[in-house]
Subunit: 371 residues, 4 copies
Amino acid sequence: MTGNTFGHSFRITTWGESHGRALGVVIDGTPAGLPIDEEDIQHDLNRRRPGQSRISTPRSEADHVEILSGVFEGRSTGTPISMLVYNKDTDPSAYDNIKDTPRPGHADYPYKMKYGMRDHRGGGRSSARETIGRVAAGAVARKLLRTAGIEIVSHVIELGGVRAKDMNMDLDTMRTIQDNVDKTIVRCADLNAAEEMIAQADAARQEGDSIGGIVETIVVGVPAGLGEPVFDKLDADIAKAMMSIGAVKGVEIGAGFKAAELKGSHMNDGFAVENGTVVTRTNNAGGILGGLSSGMPIICRCAVKPTPSISITQRSMDMKQMSEQDINIQGRHDPTIPPRMVPVAEAMMALVLADHMIRSGHIGPNTLLKG
Amino acid sequence: MTGNTFGHSFRITTWGESHGRALGVVIDGTPAGLPIDEEDIQHDLNRRRPGQSRISTPRSEADHVEILSGVFEGRSTGTPISMLVYNKDTDPSAYDNIKDTPRPGHADYPYKMKYGMRDHRGGGRSSARETIGRVAAGAVARKLLRTAGIEIVSHVIELGGVRAKDMNMDLDTMRTIQDNVDKTIVRCADLNAAEEMIAQADAARQEGDSIGGIVETIVVGVPAGLGEPVFDKLDADIAKAMMSIGAVKGVEIGAGFKAAELKGSHMNDGFAVENGTVVTRTNNAGGILGGLSSGMPIICRCAVKPTPSISITQRSMDMKQMSEQDINIQGRHDPTIPPRMVPVAEAMMALVLADHMIRSGHIGPNTLLKG
Amino acid sequence: MTGNTFGHSFRITTWGESHGRALGVVIDGTPAGLPIDEEDIQHDLNRRRPGQSRISTPRSEADHVEILSGVFEGRSTGTPISMLVYNKDTDPSAYDNIKDTPRPGHADYPYKMKYGMRDHRGGGRSSARETIGRVAAGAVARKLLRTAGIEIVSHVIELGGVRAKDMNMDLDTMRTIQDNVDKTIVRCADLNAAEEMIAQADAARQEGDSIGGIVETIVVGVPAGLGEPVFDKLDADIAKAMMSIGAVKGVEIGAGFKAAELKGSHMNDGFAVENGTVVTRTNNAGGILGGLSSGMPIICRCAVKPTPSISITQRSMDMKQMSEQDINIQGRHDPTIPPRMVPVAEAMMALVLADHMIRSGHIGPNTLLKG
Amino acid sequence: MTGNTFGHSFRITTWGESHGRALGVVIDGTPAGLPIDEEDIQHDLNRRRPGQSRISTPRSEADHVEILSGVFEGRSTGTPISMLVYNKDTDPSAYDNIKDTPRPGHADYPYKMKYGMRDHRGGGRSSARETIGRVAAGAVARKLLRTAGIEIVSHVIELGGVRAKDMNMDLDTMRTIQDNVDKTIVRCADLNAAEEMIAQADAARQEGDSIGGIVETIVVGVPAGLGEPVFDKLDADIAKAMMSIGAVKGVEIGAGFKAAELKGSHMNDGFAVENGTVVTRTNNAGGILGGLSSGMPIICRCAVKPTPSISITQRSMDMKQMSEQDINIQGRHDPTIPPRMVPVAEAMMALVLADHMIRSGHIGPNTLLKG
């Protein structure tokens, strides 16, 4: 019950199923006065849309967004912003064979156990199409954050075992990533690595198999001291946000799992004063200390499993007969998820930060307009 | 504001500072009828207590818990359970030199930026002593989960670069871990690896340095279908719970970051039917599919950074002067955190699961007593 | 921020403005398996629709509801139910003269103070049209409550100073009210009083003035022990729900304000045992003791102020000039609110009860279907 | 479950039972820098303490408050403030005869139905002693509100059928009330009416009976535009807060139930401009329009039922035998509640306003200290 809402002071509720009439989101908590139009939202939705390349599902959807409330004369009014996208290219018949036979790696089996029934068409609510609402809301959150000087970028740093070269994180690096990320279909800013990744994705597609990867998200411009001790820490909320994206199996901040192998004298980022500002020379903390932002760039990486829908025959069972049987998955699917997850990761990061910026008073909750 | 509460249907609020008068927790949502006495709570608190071994801080605290409400004639009444521990061995003078000089790797700097002031004694609220409330509440949650057949164990699987041998996760393995975990001061169930880990911790202590590690948490007995789509997924809530523990820099479920390198045909756990029950032969999912439990053991690993308090001189700055300066940290500290984090990780997992078990109706919210 | 959501375990978020593109609601928390179709919802919406009689606004709206998610093959799936109504008959020009001149008795002035701007067309978000979402969600809540034997009815017991005759509340009386309530345009079950009320409403309309009244809501079938001490008491949540309806200025339970004048020996409802069931001979408590249901009918009354939109010239001010000036309100409005508030009061009561029934486990949170 | 918390951005959790070891509260959300000492809290607790006069229960309790966390060097730190009062004068034996026999007008019966058991000593959690936590937290909230120029006063305006004379509400009147309210044991600012009220209370006490009354709460200094549409309206939250106080059966704002009898032309408060400020000449709205504050004084009245504990024999039943039987209530009790409810009503109003002032950014959530 009631798990479809995210956020405390900037709060979204998503709704909709893969093959239902529409999917959407209601945002509650946007201060009045933010310029918003449908093109802003559409731009981000287009980046997560299916059918963009040979490594994304051929489902043909324009995913045209409509803003139904909360915007008046081009600006947010402070009231809920409701947005939706109607489903057009639905083909439920492709899913008849999975009605009683759960797909390995998918939510089919536990959904049935929880609800006693399920909308099996394309995974229903557990489909990645649910992220339409997240991305639409994230577009608003990003506009809001930009008024406070915060910028977010995500990119693929590993795919099918191919790792992009390490980059020292600073504002210049961020600009390079922003420039490069959409240049290839794998959304890796290291264009050489991107070539290899594409080869891996093509190979997997031809084998009817799939590959996983790692998506990194970087944020610059966050003021020091953002976050709420002791449970609603900034990294705790980021971890929840990212882990709530289907296919994500791990989240790390800064040095992450490597921190387990470092000594304290190496891990700790010493302080320095630069142009009257407190900085750290290294950023193993990934911009977060004790759950609060340090003012350094926030760095988060998500491990993304390979697409669970593969063409290779797999072992499943018939839930009515309670007997084992093979399953062959039809329908349309991507051979790899990370490239299309890039705008979703950006959206989730934006939602967490917008929430904390309002919650902590850095952005006024009522209005952006001067008295 | 208001970040000190965790949970939806089984909800805890912790309070207290390292060198304040007391620390404690209020639990709201325990059904009536659960047998509870102070010894149950004390047992878990003793496992996180300082001064247990040469690798934990010598601060001498009995950490004696008192239950002040919510229990009548040995059973929970359904009303809030308030518990506290008075601080005894406080020595704030050791912290005078860090009043204006933030310790690298600690929350000192962002706390000051957020609140404009801070209780600098022993880290104040950002101290690991805050976990007293978590562990006390976790003890109640674990009792509650046991009424539903759920058991949780955490253990150290990596410390200072030493990795315990991999174990195939089943009920027998869990029993072995439970038997071994408290046999050594590093709480690693692989007793050979434990010896090496201890050597690493001793070496770090002698160098005035510290080491990190990985804590794994395993849960058996969770019914299939637990969790709430799409944001309050079981793995999303676990990720938040674990990342909210100080020093945790990464969280992964099942195959975790390795999933990024697997192919779908390897990652997917095929279904099987065993004694009339649905199982999977492998458990790369770590017991969670689409954010809901699959009925297989839940497996979660946390990357823990090395203790930020080290004796080696570090670079910091004076916040009043805004000038760089060295810092030498006095006070008492552990050379490594994971062994004492074991009961905290168990507690956080218990809190997440108790919350979801009540939220989903698996455990009745009002009472365990029969009508 | 984020005040547009109501409920804990059965949670609704409403959105939309009087003259925007649409209004709607997302319900999160409906268990799977509840039969739902658009006709169920439409029936309740038709009762709150404008243009039903000469004492309701002539705005012509079919208010046709569309269900966009959460229902599959005629049953709820446990996922969010999104519903909307497109606005058709909008005439914003009628509101040009109130752009900078707040209407007395309306939210115009404080909205402007809060948000720095406002959608002035028809009151924007503060319009009574916002209750479309409440009534649509309430229709689902009522269906859910009926599966547990709970029935709700509201009726007008006072209008323009005319009071309906007192009725002893029992199941028979409730049936009479249900039979009579929609027989007259004032929705008073006492048909004689209804005639007088209509006369009052007609007179007010002709004078360009408006009248207030009292709406009573009765619930039968609520099990004893419903509600959550100490803040989320059943009566506290009912009071909030009702007071959140525009124009409501008072809420009372059972004897209500008369209780202030009674002695304890009169007010207290003594217990009795009837057919093996605990009852009380009187019901001054209005079915709620210490914030929990007693098992007796719940009785709640709301004081509704006269419609603030009147044709008579009133005193206001120009917010830009900060100077006083007269205001003449055009647009379309009802001479009295209570008759159209009847379905809204029923909806709010249903929302509170559905929330508490799920929260307390009386209705399972996941599914109504048998394992 | 989890109903013991109140507030969104300034949040309290109360705990404790009438005859348990202690009662208390945790406040989460106080900005850093607020001067707080135990005397501030004790002052308000003394006003609700038992044994103050012949019309309050003779239970002898000093109700000495201890602040255990969240305050450092005399100022709030932004972390949770935990406060408690140990119970001293407990005499549970007086309650043996009500163990299985519910007291009419009390929560005994529904508590047993909800939880399957109950702490029957003095009503356990449903005792009015639970308000200790509310009043202690309210004292902090009031200090916080005073930094923003907001003042709150409650007084008894009706008791046992005796009504205080009406007063036009302005700042002078408020000062008079503040001066007079504690001059008599009935806390009525109209000292003539107070005499009559005392006579009524004495008579009721001698008869072993009890009387009810009305408590009015007035707030000045609230900025216009406070509150959150559409559910978390200021009046909706006030209604919930007040109705959550035991014995309150009705809540009204401004003209309240009288509004039902007024015409719109009378009810509406016309706007005026006075010294460059927007005011209304009348205040039938009670300072709240469309759920947001108007800038005029907030006026709220609560109907309080007569004390349910009376010495007169009443009809009850034996819950084990399911048979009717008489009950004679022993123990200690007040003949009337409103005088001791005055500080509780002030506290609840303060909690609502502190919450909304922070939520809306009028008071910064992190700190009161200048950068």
